[in-house]
Structures are given as C-alpha cells and as structure tokens.
C-alpha cells in the first residue's frame, strides 16, 4: 500500500482541571490510507472526539494539553505546524462536520455567507465563482431549491437540512480528509439514513477519506471499511469491519454487540449487560481501562496496560489490546463469538 494519508503516533492528551488531571487520550496510534473510511466507536469519555479535535489544534489549551505524540498528515506533523498553516488545512484539505448543527452554524449569517467563507479563504475564488459553487454544493447535498434557500438563515432549515449544510461546508474545498464527529446523532433515523447515503455517494464520487466518529455500532457497520473501538482514552481493538463484528477480540466490543437487541421480539431473554460504570479518567490508570468491568479479565489486566498487537492468525490487520484470549475464553464457556 502507498504511504498513509494520516499517521497518528503515540498521541496522549490530558485536561488539567481543579479536580485533577483527566487522561482523555492515552497513547493512541494508527494509520489511515487514502480513500479509506475509518469508523471510530466509543461512548462518552472514550477519547474518540478529543483525539480528533486535538489532531488539528481544536482542543482549547488550557485546560487541554497534548502531552506527547505526532500526527502526520501527508507527511507533515500537524502538532508542530504553525497556527497559520493549520488554519490553511482546516476547512481546506481537512473538512469537519460536528454533531450539533445549531451551535456550529452562525445564526446571524446566511447559509450563503457561511458556505462561501471556506471557498474564499482556501480556494482564491472570486465572489461570483464562490457564489455559484456554494449553490452547487447545496444541490450536491440534496437541498431542494438551493438557489432560493441559500439566502436563508440556519433557523429556517430543519435539523436534517442544517446537517446537510454542515456537510456542504465540510466538503466545500474538496477535502482529502473528512472528519465527522457524531454527525448524525442528533438526527431522526430517516434523516440519518439520507445523510449516510449522501456520505457513501461522496466517497464513491470523490474518493474522500473519512473518519466517522460515533457511538452507534449500526452506523459503523454500514459505512466503515475499518473499525476502531475506543474506551477510556485507548484503542481497544481495530480491524476490518467484517472481523470486528463477526469475531471481536476485545471483551468490550463483544459486550457492546451482545448488549444490543438483534432484531428479536419481546422474549424472556434478558439483554446481556456489561456490568459496572464507565471509567473515571481522573484516576491515574493502571492496566486495561476495561478490566474492572470485564468478566474475562486476567490478573495481569489490572496492573499492566496491554499493547495493541496483531491478532494471532489474522492476515487482515485485526489488532487487539488484551491480555486475555477472548475466543478461547468464550469456547471454554461455550458462548457464541458475537
């Protein structure tokens, strides 16, 4: 394969708070290739959003602090880049779509102004060129009557339409990399389905590389080539979408998949529940962050952090951070792999 588009090496981010230091991202490393779609799954506090924001200098400092790491985008380290260059990248080569379109859009500017901003800034287009490109973009994301609607303000759009505007802004300058953070979480399922179809279409047409951050395993199943499961600021497991869902190697992934109803009707079966509560990242971590909730944890899990390594006999790049062997533990209990 060619050189990766994005390479994250040993990224660690902390927040200094009055209550102590929060370890939000711990030693995260991965690579992303051109045209690939990476789905990052995790719950709140897993570090999935913070790690993405910190890559492009969007974590406010203080309280945020990048303790270590390199983020190489097309070979250049984003963390060492001067702010001016980063500004050129953000909204240009790297597009963003955030969760909440109502707070991300400026309520006192028309959609047209907000769509033209990145085009004027990054593309050196004339105002009239930017205007017609802005209309094209709105049409591309499937907003009807784009010519008229572009003069409207965000509050005149419905939630789904606003999210489409956000996506239009995110892809305005044909980014190499699109980072979407819970971009469809606030939307109704029918609208979410439309937005996901749109992203699939964009991938096909422009070969956009995508990082799709979500807590929804279903969304990832349909969209991602590679899935990365995060918990407590660490990558628990990473691999091609098929093996992750069929033969998960991390007890956390396994538990998450088991705890979702799989289309069964009301039965006497109780849902599998992961015991305990999400970790408190204030405590300095020892060992595997999931160990206290993991029924397969070995004594070693509690005091030594497992490295993210290749799954034995995997040829597809399936990685897991675990001291225990999940398939073996499940076989011993005669449970299904997923």
């Amino acid at each position: 394969m060619s050189a990766p588009l994005l390479e994250v090496r040993n990224l660690s981010v902390v927040f200094d708070t009055p209550a102590g230091t929060v370890h939000a991202v711990n030693d995260v490393s991965y690579t992303l290739h051109d045209g690939e779609t990476l789905g990052i799954v995790g719950e709140s506090g897993s570090g999935k959003s913070v790690h993405a924001l910190s890559m492009v200098g969007l974590v406010p400092c203080p309280p945020g602090r990048i303790v270590s790491g390199e983020v190489l985008f097309e070979g250049r380290d984003l963390l060492k880049m001067p702010e001016r260059d980063l500004c050129q990248l953000r909204g240009g080569r790297i597009g963003f779509v955030f969760q909440d379109p109502m707070t991300s859009l400026n309520p006192v500017l028309t959609v047209e102004r907000q769509l033209m901003e990145p085009l004027l800034r990054h593309r050196n287009l004339s105002r009239s060129q930017a205007k017609s490109r802005a209309v094209e973009l709105l049409e591309l994301v499937g907003i009807p009557h784009a010519k008229e609607r572009i003069r409207q303000y965000p509050h005149q759009f419905s939630g789904g339409m606003r999210q489409r505007v956000m996506i239009a802004i995110g892809i305005a300058c044909d980014p190499k990399l699109l980072i979407a953070d819970e971009a469809t979480t606030a939307l109704d399922v029918t609208v979410q389905a439309q937005v996901l179809d749109l992203v699939r279409d964009l991938k096909k047409r422009f070969g956009t590389t995508v990082i799709w951050i979500t807590h929804d395993m279903g969304v990832v199943a349909g969209l991602a080539d590679t899935v990365q499961v995060m918990y407590g600021g660490r990558i628990m497991e990473r691999g091609p979408v098929g093996p992750i869902f069929k033969t998960p190697r991390s007890a956390y992934t396994w538990g998450l998949l088991r705890s979702l109803p799989h289309g069964e009707a009301r039965t006497q079966r109780r849902l599998y529940q992961i015991p305990g509560q999400p970790p408190n990242l204030l405590d300095s971590q020892q060992g595997d962050p999931f160990a206290p909730r993991n029924e397969f944890a070995t004594p070693r899990c509690f005091h030594e952090v497992p490295p993210l390594v290749q799954v034995p006999d995997s040829t597809s790049g399936h990685l897991v951070a675990a001291w225990y062997d999940l398939p073996m533990a499940l076989r011993a209990r005669q449970e299904k792999p997923a």
Binding site: T190, A221, F245, L257, P261, G263, A265, R266
Partner: protein
Amino acid sequence: MNDTPLLSVRNLVKRYGGSSTWFGGNSFGVSAVDDVSFEIAPGETLGLVGESGSGKSTTGRVLLQLEAPTSGTVLFKGQTITGLSASELKPFRREMQIVFQDPYAALNPRMTVGAFVAEPMVVHKTASGSERQDRTAELFRKVGLDPSFMTRYPHEFSGGQRQRVNIARAIALNPSFIVADEPITALDVSIQAQIVNLFQDLQDELGLAYLFVAHDLSMVRYLCHRVAVMLRGRIVEMAPSEAIFGDARHPYTKALLTAIPVPDPDIERNRRHVPFDLEMHGPRPGQTLQKVAPQHFVLT
C-alpha cells in the same frame, strides 16, 4: 394482562399557540397531538415511536395531565382524569409516574438522592420516620443501588446511576403505570442494556404498565408488546410488535424500519432505504385508523 384497560386515551388533542386574533378571526396554532386514541392494559408495554416533533413526548405529558389537553379524554382505571382539579388529581398522581430522558436535569442538585427518592412519600404522606428510611433503602436495592449512597448528591453519580435514582423515585408510591420518555437515549451505550433490563425486571415484579416513548426501534421491538407509530401528531399505525416489524402497512412505518442501522455489516451493506414522501403519504385530515388485522390499525 386482562381485558379492562388500565388507561384509555380518547381523541386526545393538544394545540399550542392558538388564539383569537385582533380582527375576530382565529389562529389555530400547531397541533402537537392530533386526535390520538389508544389503550394500555395492566402490565402491558406500549411503545410510542416517531421522529422529533411527531408529538410522542407531548402525548406522554398530556395523558399524565402534566399539561392540560386542548380536548379529548383520558380514563385511568375507568375514571375520567381530564378536567380534574389539582387536589382531585392527587390520588391518581400516585398511580402514574414518569421517567425523563435526561437523568442529569431531572435530579435536584442540592438534594441528597435519598431525600429525592423519599420526597413522593413526604408529599403523599404514605410513610414517615424510620419506615420511610427503610422504604427508601428498599427502593435503592430494587433499582440496583447500594443504600449507603442515600446520603450522596447527584453530581457524585454517573448517568446510568442517576437514571436508576429517577426510576427509584418513580416507583416509590407503587404506581401501576409509568411513562418512560426516552429513558435510555442520554445514557452511554454500555449502560443502556442495564436500564432496559431494570425496566423489564420491575415490570415482572410489580406488574407495571409502561408507555415507552422512544426513537430506537430495535429497543422498542425488544421491550414492547405493542407499538404505535406517530407522525405529525397522529398515530399512523398501531399493532402488536411482531406485526409492526413483520407486516408494516403504512409507508412511514416502512421507511422508519429500513432506516434503523443494524449492527451487522452484511445486512447494512445490502440494504435499500425506502424513502418517505410526506406530501404523498403524510397524514391528511379526515383519515382514520382502520383495522387491517386483529389489533392492527393503519391510518387510511
């Protein structure tokens, strides 16, 4: 389950913003709930699904009389509870409770969670002194919390634990009916199954009936005996769960079903979303729920 409904909702309407205008005309405002009727049997779970703005949460609030309906009647155990005064409603309040979506906002930050759970018993004078203490501890155990947590404040708890506190308060007066308004939506994924199981266990143990308001259809299928689908303030389809998920008739229900992402790459990659055209298939005035099969109704 027996045949007499615990709760009957008849032609419920809730309009917001309607008022007579300066020039003697009338503006009708927005109908959040438009001619909604359904029944819930003792011990039954009815799922109420729909997108934001469909009126599902408003239906829950209006039927509990947290807001007065514009018109329509609600009967609880055969007695009309619409149009009652606050004091006349009080005995019914003991029987009908609600659990909200946001477990953070629902708790009082300056009250210990023990006092919070015990408060309904104070208001309704059902228990006092050590009896109330014991009952509170029992409620904590029932929802899976250690009674030693009673003296703590809400900020010391995680989202899932806070929702347990809210549930403990909701069952404090031995209600027979609970409106659960998106009770797991705001929780972490790894916690949702815990709370769903808790709802199931409490139903088995206490014979509770639920109105489960949600937009997560896979959870609804798992939890509910029957499902009502709402769109634009109206119920467009209502049927037993198997029928909704196996034999959906209304175009909107079909669109909704094909839009739920399923955690299985093989299914997800081969699915076609059925689009829904609101102009063509949206509810129109004059349409009524027609029976298409036993217990299965479609707006036509």
